[in-house]
């Protein structure tokens, strides 16, 4: 359908055009093209952190918006995230080397008894896409698993996911334990999963229920900013 446009030569685009093309290529899930573009920007002496925020995070924000709005669905987002991952693999060692700022760290997992991880993985990918550091505990995570990890990792955020009405109450078990131990307010707790809603999130004492991965990213950014403001106040 677009044969005449097959001959986009990434290296011939100027910076602005290239970033725009990266937005498109992330949207279309083209991993090799993203890797090539990241390398081109590095050759052009872009800071790794600038490539991350302006090109990759910028592109994934559009993917996230269209996912939130029911325009893109899981298969497209998985492809986009996979392309993003290709770019990140190049940038990650360089980001550490250059001491790039840290956005925040989230420990996440699907709750005990629940093996659904598609939504959780999407949240992890989109959070990484937004520059967060992710520690993914996988599926079937019990209280000790969550609490040990947030402590050891020095996490800012705890994210819990459940896809079943039979497993979602376990989130309250985790939060109640945090309250008992007096550590609840040390962390931002985000919950998500198909059968949940805002009311459930409030009832169990989470900071927020996040409807989808895009909302999780927006909420995490907002709550991290609020936390920083409180700390400096």
């Amino acid at each position: 359908m677009s044969d005449e446009e097959d001959d986009i030569i990434l290296s011939e685009l100027n910076d602005e055009e290239l970033v725009q093309q990266m937005f498109d290529d992330l949207y279309d899930g083209l991993k090799e093209e993203i890797e090539e573009s990241v390398n081109i920007l590095l050759e052009r002496k872009w800071e790794p952190y600038r490539i991350l925020t302006e090109a990759l995070v910028g592109g994934m924000t559009i993917v996230g918006q269209d996912f939130r709005d029911g325009i893109l669905f899981v298969p497209e987002v998985l492809l986009a995230a996979n392309a993003m991952k290709g770019g990140m693999a190049i940038l990650k060692p360089l980001l550490i080397e250059t001491g790039a700022p840290r956005v925040g760290k989230m420990v996440m997992g699907t709750v005990k008894g629940d093996i659904h991880d598609i939504g959780k993985n999407l949240v992890g990918m989109m959070m990484e896409g937004a520059g967060f550091e992710i520690v993914d505990l996988g599926i079937n995570t019990d209280v000790d698993g969550y609490l040990n990890a947030i402590k050891e990792e020095g996490a800012d955020i705890l994210g819990m996911s459940a896809l079943l009405t039979t497993t979602m109450p376990y989130m309250k078990v985790v939060i109640d334990t945090m309250v008992e131990l007096g550590i609840r307010d040390d962390y931002i707790v985000l919950v998500g999963g198909a059968p949940l809603n805002d009311e459930f999130g409030r009832a169990i004492g989470a900071d927020a229920y996040c409807r989808d991965a895009a909302v999780a990213v927006e909420t995490a950014k907002e709550l991290i900013a609020r936390k920083h403001n409180q700390m400096s106040a």
């Binding site: 359908m1 677009s2 044969d3 446009e5 097959d6 986009i8 093309q21 498109d24 290529d25 949207y27 279309d28 899930g29 083209l30 093209e33 559009i62 269209d66 709005d69 029911g70 325009i71 893109l72 669905f73 899981v74 298969p75 497209e76 998985l78 492809l79 709750v111 005990k112 008894g113 629940d114 093996i115 659904h116 991880d117 598609i118 939504g119 599926i139 079937n140 019990d142 079943l164 009405t165 039979t166 497993t167 979602m168 109450p169 376990y170 309250k172 078990v173 198909a194 059968p195 949940l196 809603n197 009311e199 459930f200 009832a203 169990i204």
Partner: protein, 337 residues
């Protein structure tokens, strides 16, 4: 192929299936995180009570306690070696309850999703998905299930794999998807897409349809989508009793029996031949639904406005079948992938 479900579908205008399994077992003391399927061996009396609840409330069909009975799901409980046994027991207990009812009651062997993403997006191959579903199907068949009932599926690839497994087991089958994301499945599949897929499969499902998802109103919109797609295959409506709320440490669904009774009549008027509930639907809901289906004469299909007014609003403006859905951005390279 003659089977009890196909026969009943030709004899009756509508059939009522059951309600919630998970919600009901939870109320019986199932702990968050435990496998419901293990109860087929450990608490067969409670599983019989679950089935009887639906049968006594007037269900013509009930689903076995085997939703998470595939190796992929039982692995979580280190019980992947018990697939055959737990599925057989789920159906055996069901067979006894159905046979003792004194009327025609269909034992539908529930098969839920593997919880994994299939190739090429994910790691699960078609062959291993078929193998897992087939193993489960053989157990359900052995226990005396009349039909296999694949439910809560999101990906067409997984739906096809389950269909293939049913064929390998020599069993008639039904298959429903969960339309929980802007009126589509998580994978972006619409009601019209499923109707077309069901028509293409050989052997075709005895019935196809929707279960779970968001609330009863979204489910009715999906059923109207099936109707508009115009398949000859009967379709199934199995919606949740409202939206889950957290009350005193338990999940409670806000849909009343009266609301579900209205939903049942609207589902039938929209063309569904098999009508039931999903999460939150208790025997009281089923009794109200049965009564309403029997006492309310069949009317014209409701409009979306009528559904929204009586059952509640929709979770999204479009469900992807009305031509109003926003298409993905068309980038320069799109189409050359």
């Amino acid at each position: 192929m003659t089977n009890l479900l196909s026969r009943l579908l030709t004899e009756r205008d509508w059939l009522m299936t059951d309600g919630a399994t998970g919600t009901t077992l939870f109320n019986m003391g199932l702990q968050s995180g435990d496998s419901p399927e293990l109860w087929n061996a450990d608490h067969p009396d409670r599983i019989a009570t679950l089935y009887k609840g639906a049968v006594d409330a007037g269900s013509d069909i009930f689903l076995t306690n085997s939703f998470g009975g595939s190796a992929a799901r039982l692995k979580l409980h280190d019980s992947q070696s018990r697939v055959r046994e737990l599925n057989r027991l789920a159906a055996e207990i069901g067979r006894e309850v159905a046979d003792a009812s004194g009327r025609d009651v269909v034992v539908a062997g529930s098969i839920g999703p593997t919880g994994e993403i299939m190739e090429p997006m994910g790691a699960l191959t078609h062959a291993s998905a078929v193998e897992m579903f087939h193993e489960q199907a053989e157990g359900l068949k052995e226990g005396g299930a009349d039909v296999l009932w694949v439910e809560t599926i999101s990906a067409p690839e997984e739906y096809k794999a389950a269909a293939e497994a049913a064929t390998l087991a020599g069993m008639p089958w039904c298959g429903t998807m969960s339309f929980d994301t802007a009126g589509r499945t998580m994978m972006g599949f619409t009601s019209a897409d499923l109707s077309r897929l069901a028509d293409r499969l050989d052997p075709a499902p005895v019935a196809f349809g929707a279960n779970c998802g968001v609330g009863a109103s979204d489910l009715l919109r999906t059923v109207l989508g099936f109707r508009a797609a115009g398949s000859e295959i009967p379709f199934i409506a199995k919606g949740n009793a409202g939206i889950p709320k957290y009350v005193d440490g338990h999940i409670h669904y806000d849909g009343t029996p009266e609301l579900m009774a209205r939903y049942a009549v609207m589902a039938r008027d929209s063309g569904a031949k098999i009508i039931g509930g999903c999460c939150g639907t208790q025997p009281d809901h089923l009794r109200a639904m049965r009564k309403a289906l029997e006492e309310t004469p069949k009317g014209p299909a409701p409009s979306l406005e009528e559904i929204a007014a009586e059952i509640g609003g929709f979770s999204s403006d479009s469900d992807g079948t009305d031509g109003n859905a926003v298409a993905p951005r068309q980038n320069r390279r799109r189409g050359r992938k």
